[in-house]
Amino acid sequence: MGNVQNTPHRADVGVVDSSVQHAAHAHAAPTGFIRKYIFSLDHKVIGLQYYFLALASVFTGLILSVLMRIHLVWPEWAIPGIGIIKDEQYLGLLTLHGTFMVFFVLTTAPQSGFGNYFLPIQIGAADMAFPVLNMLSFWTTFAAFIVMLGAFFTVMPIAGWTSYPTLSALPNAGSLPWGQDLWLLSIALFCAASLMGALNFITTTLDLRCKGMSLWRMPLTCWTWFVTAILGLLAFGVLLSGGLLLLLDRNAGTSFFVPGGLVVNGVQQRHEGGSPLLWQHLFWFFGHPEVYIAILPGMGVASQLLSTFSRKPIFGYRAMVFAVMAIGLLGFMVWGHHMFMSGMSPYTAFAFSLMTMAIGVPSAIKTFNWLGTMWRGKIRFYTPMLFAIGFVSLFVSGGLSGPFLAQPTLDIPLHDTFFVVAHFHLIMGVAAIFGIFAATYYWFPKMFGRMMSESLGRLHFWFTFVGTYAIFMPMHYEGMAGRPRRYGSMVVAGGLFNRLAALMPLEKFISIAAFVTAAAQLIFVINLFWSMKKGEKAPVNPWEATTLEWTIPSPPPHDNFAGNTPVVNHGPYEYSVPGVERDYVMQTDPASVHAH
């Protein structure tokens, strides 16, 4: 390698060096509308784009779930503009509900949305490592979203968000053309976008930290975004491969997932020699890490907020980091626990089960440390803190049904019943959503320069918190009673099989709770958009927090630190330090404020 730093050779380059010329404009923001808001390269704009994409998706998913709940208990209701929901449509609704929620909400908002916005700021960088790639990643996700809407409006795919072949591979088994194909195409695009995003996150975290921001001084949010990006990098490629193979099975006549000798609706299939279990392995090798992709950023946010609002350092910072890493690592070794009943070799169930139970340990460490953080604190109950506490409560409730399902023995009666639905909605769905809400209330002042309404926020919290439990707790009982998932009608016309009829009052209770909780989300939307315009002006550091985003104006200037790269002298959670006048020490405070 030559010592190139000292060897400018512009004649060879053939272009005039421009850095000198444009030094004065180095921090100018783009002015054109398109460059500024549409094809922006600014990580903050891209973060918001992701956030609003997730917001659109979450309301799509929410409406779908309300329609599902209507169909389950009042199947005769005619919905204006839709009519009576048919049982087949119910399957379409649940497939798209799952897909929108898992991919376009739980993967998009916590990681791509808030991660994009705050990772660079929290580590003291002016932007992500590759802004163009970042923009490309968002627009690919957006394309995936549009294609998924296309699936919604052509023929709804009915194979569930897991799309198990052979149902999903054989059009005349029910996965009709267009719907299922667009679904797969959308997922493939989403995978590609997520890979780009993961690459950007990892490089940014490793390479763009400012002076003094050692890995052990990163806020836990950054740690979780980092580990999530690694999970995404390793998982999405596998789903992409699987998705392409399934597309080929559907459209090119290959037989990766379709065995020979099948007769579907009286038509003999020409496929031969594939394995339906192969898809399940590929899918869950992605699918289980995906669960952690959804929840890890929420854990980071909860840690951040519990420490900030308890005015206490996080309990066991390093234990938290190691727990996140352990969860990420173990997350790749447990995919088989989704397949205990699949016909997979029963011997492997031993190993998968043991690994899965082992994940309970780092999860328990996290819970313990969250409680430890609140212990002897001085808790301020702002809305973001309420949602963080709600997150912990839901994480505990959803997590503790895990050890039931992780044991193959107990999975026999519980697999594919509402017990599973209750489990993953509490932990992966609502807990992660609580993480998103907490993050929204916490960072809104920074993102929009105004405060959100506290009273509306509290109202929103109480409705959502109680409503969530009212919806999902009873589902455990239903699952134990043997209520299978993905059944459009509880009671078949003609009344032949009424084993589940006794559950009907409970189903109605759940539906009503779901309607109320869904309606309560309007409070959030009103609060969000009203506060953007009319909220109280936000100071630089409204929560008296310590991390870097609270050192810069709200909203942050175009390049975050206005050219003054910060220097970090302290860990991220220095609250109530004895002998320091303020009850918090900013990461950028002079080292002399508090010696370690």
Partner: protein, 243 residues
């Protein structure tokens, strides 16, 4: 950093995009690039390493599917037993070996281009010294040869596919032919990405890129390209020995 930025000039902030007319308030993507050559090199190498990790995962998934399928019995409804029906593809070995050679050769020529750029960077700063000759520009031709070889490899793969088709082995004929097309096709798709990067590197002068930028592009594209070569040898070995 500050002093570095001044001294590197050409490899600094301004060179990452083409300079247009007025400039002014125009938004410039490369703004946040680090100034120093080594900082930039490190970042792009890191990105390529991370990128390759995701490529590896794609092929790990395909490989495990391949191995599982090759060793799997399928249930035969007539005999009520599991039969091992894996019929390996007759690979056009000579042609594929030739393709392998072409690809390996292209890695060599790319390395020559990279070395030429490095040598130029070293000697360029010593122009004033007696007895030191500035290394002449040879990277563009080397890159051109690499490009041609890369495309020759793709053409060779295309011939291989045609040969299989002429034997009646299509994508959907049987599981092993499906895997053959999918593995080689996925590799070819990734290779095309590498070709685009090399094309960009070869014409970087035309695009008005600095020497430092070209070195970085060639270096990053080089890692990717060498990996594509190794990946191809791996796939070839898998198809050949993993029946």
């Amino acid at each position: 950093m500050g002093t570095l930025r001044q001294s590197v000039g050409g490899s600094g902030r301004g060179d990452n995009f083409r300079e247009g007319g007025g400039g002014g308030e125009r938004y410039r993507p490369g703004r946040y690039e680090p100034a120093g050559y080594y900082e930039r090199l490190r970042r792009y190498r890191l990105a390529v390493a991370v990128l390759l990790l995701s490529v590896i995962m794609i092929f790990v998934a395909l490989t495990s599917a391949y191995i599982v399928r090759a060793g799997m019995g399928t249930y035969d409804t007539v005999t009520h037993s599991y039969v091992y029906d894996w019929k390996p593809v007759q690979l056009p070995n000579e042609l594929l070996l030739l393709n392998t050679l072409v690809l390996v050769l292209s890695s060599g020529t790319l390395e020559m281009a990279r070395r030429n750029l490095n040598a130029r960077a070293v000697t360029a700063g010593l122009t004033g010294l007696p007895g030191v000759a500035v290394e002449p520009e040879r990277s563009a031709p080397w890159l051109g040869i690499t490009l041609v070889l890369g495309m020759a490899f793709l053409a060779g793969q295309f011939l291989a596919w045609r040969e299989l088709r002429s034997q009646g082995m299509f994508l959907a004929t049987n599981p092993s032919s499906s895997f053959f097309y999918v593995l080689t096709g996925a590799h070819a798709a990734h290779l095309i990405g590498g070709l685009v990067a090399l094309f960009y590197a070869a014409f970087a002068t035309v695009f008005g890129k600095s020497l430092a930028t070209r070195r970085i592009v060639v270096d990053a594209a080089g890692w990717y390209w060498h990996f594509m070569g190794a990946l191809w040898i791996y796939i070839f070995a898998l198809l050949h020995f993993g029946k």
